[in-house]
């Protein structure tokens, strides 16, 4: 009799569980849905729908005018291109440099290894804001060789360039520590087997460690992508001319001279699309990496 009651309660429990999950999903998805749906509405329709479920539904007179105006009023193509270049190079170079640095500390033996590791880990507690000004003063005086008008020229500063937004961010203490933790837990037997087969440390890294470290590379990619794509402070400090500005500065510029919220939502939606793509592409491995980290803890 009791078992029958439990069975009878099961659908209600499932229903309740789904209701809670839908409610939570709505809370988390609301800002995103609101942004995307509002980008297809007029400002008046957006405000009129704000107090009902219509705010997150594709209802009313939908249009693409907001997107057309974004492209007409702003230089979004340039900012978008700059952001793609900066982020892609930063992520790729960062993955290579940081993973190799972590490999050398986790899998190789060399003098001063522990000291370097401690120094890198201690850098984790230094916020970027604390080093932004000294770094700015440094890059303002660093020379650079550029190719302009068919000839090589020496520039006296890194300011107002794309490379000033790429190079200082490549080496990243957090990424090194992330890779270090992962590499450390891979059994050393693999390295020994590879060494017996005559593999050099570099060969071991590329052919053995990297293929086994998909989750940590996915995690590092997502985190580095987000950090670079959303970077605002450093570009603001170092790019005073429009030609080198990334998308996050672009959206702030657009917001500065626009009061139409529909257009602002359209700009925001366009800005968010690459983040979505990267997250969806690496989602499975990202979750696997997080789950793995949890088990270790």
């Amino acid at each position: 009799m009791i078992e029958t009651n439990v069975d009878a309660m099961r659908p209600y429990k499932t229903l309740l569980r789904y209701a809670v999950m839908i409610f939570l999903a709505y809370i988390f998805a609301f800002p995103l849905l609101f942004m995307v749906m509002s980008s297809f509405k007029t400002e008046n329709a957006m405000f009129a729908d704000m107090y009902s479920l219509r705010a997150v539904l594709p209802v009313g007179d939908l249009m693409l005018d907001n997107y057309q105006n974004v492209f007409r009023k702003s230089n979004i193509e340039l900012f978008f291109f700059n952001s793609v270049i900066i982020t892609t190079l930063n992520v790729l170079l960062g993955l290579i440099v940081n993973s190799m640095a972590a490999f050398s500390m986790a899998r190789l033996k060399w003098k001063g290894q522990e000291f370097v590791l401690i120094a890198i880990v201690s850098l984790l507690i230094v916020p970027f804001e604390a080093i932004a000004i000294p770094l700015l003063m440094l890059v303002a005086k660093l020379p650079w060789i550029a190719f302009e008008g068919g000839e090589l020229v020496v520039q006296s500063s890194w300011l107002n360039t794309l490379h000033v937004q790429i190079i200082p961010g490549i080496a990243n203490a957090f990424q090194i520590f992330l890779f270090y933790q992962f590499f450390r837990d891979i059994p050393k037997d693999f390295d020994e087997a590879a060494a017996i087969d005559g593999a050099s440390p570099l060969r071991t890294f590329w052919s053995l460690i990297v293929p086994m470290s998909g989750p940590v590379f996915a995690t590092a990619t997502i985190l580095a992508f987000l950090a670079n794509w959303n970077n605002y402070l450093w570009p603001i400090l170092t790019t005073q001319s429009e030609s080198a500005r990334p998308i996050m500065v672009g959206i702030q510029m657009f917001f500065s001279n626009n009061t139409d919220w529909g257009e602002i939502m359209a700009y925001s939606t366009l800005t968010t699309i690459p983040v979505f793509i990267v997250f969806i592409a690496f989602q499975k491995k990202f979750v696997a990496s997080l789950a793995g980290t949890g088990i270790k803890g």
Partner: protein
Amino acid sequence: MNVNTPMKTLVAALLLANSSLALAAPTEVTMWRHETGDAEMQASEAAVNRFNASQDRWEILVEKLPEGSYTESITAAALANTLPCVFDMDQPTVPNFAWSGYLRPISDYLSQDFLDGLNTGAKGQYKGQVYSVGQFDVALTLFTRKSILERFDIRYPTLEAPWTKDELMAAIKKIKASGEFAYPFDVNTNWTGEWSSYGYGPLLQSFGADLIDRDNYLEAEGTLNGDAAVQWGEWFQSLFEQEFADRKPADDKRFQNGKIAIHYTGSWSAKDYTDAFGDDLAILPPPDLGHGPVVGGGSWQWGISSSCKHPEGAAEFVQFLMSDEEVAEMSEKTSLIPTSSGGAALTEQYSEGGEWRIFYEFSEQYTVMRPETPAYPVISSAFDKAAQDIIDGVDPQDALDNAVDTIELNIEDNGGYGF
């Protein structure tokens, strides 16, 4: 032939030198401005083009930067020694930039007579020296609808006789009692940051208090937390306790949507509200809460950097911008309040009898500049915190005492900011 050769050579050299002077490219003067609405951006670009076309000695090169982080960009450029020659800045930041050494006194390049011809709100000063000048200003005001005043039999206040505190409160109570408006009054409580000192500061001053003791710019004790200030705090808090105003309004279109009856805000809303209500719109002076109506002064202004290599070119450009014709042109294109009587006279809206002349009068008669001290950013944020706390129900005396402590500690930490 031989005798003439040196002479010919000399003449040729002189001609060549002369022609090269005549053909010399104008000297480039770099300029930064913040990114803002289309109307102002286009008006600004047109002014630069007119200046560049009006003479051949200087060429202004413009760079536009996002407003949200403009001050950070200026600071970063100053540290990297890449400040432009001339740049615009929000007037409250001028004393801090001057104290930090980013600016040179503009009064060294513009005559005193010229500066005297500008309204108070047109000048950014630090320790009595003018460091910046601006073409336009904005003013605080009360918006309502004539039909509301008539329906509730409320006196229409004028420049000569603005509402007293009692009249304002009586009007709000009467409208509230009708049940037609859940919140009859609105003071933009959904805005934080600079709005508190710009919007609520004048209300505090109208009570007879101030954000800092302007005799020394070192102390806030007794000024920001004295009896008058606490009375302001209690009055301000009562607006929310009695539900005359909403603590957390959802959007900025409440007045246009008919959800509030009286809106205390800035002249920048006049165009939208005129479009919404036409002749029914009533533009009223800010209330006299005991010590006369007050509006904040100073908007975006132009200054010359201390690192500028061609300050005379920059000054020539700034003087050009501040001519009556250019001040009027900017006002015509943006609807902002011109900062000189000559400029106002050339506009349609702000000349005598113009639709928005009343804003010019507010600006000319009621302006009290926000404290012209490098400590202003701290004063502003501390007062904002106090105002938000008061709105949320914190005892006004406690909230203002905390603000005083924060301000005075900061001033002390910075050696008095030069005062």
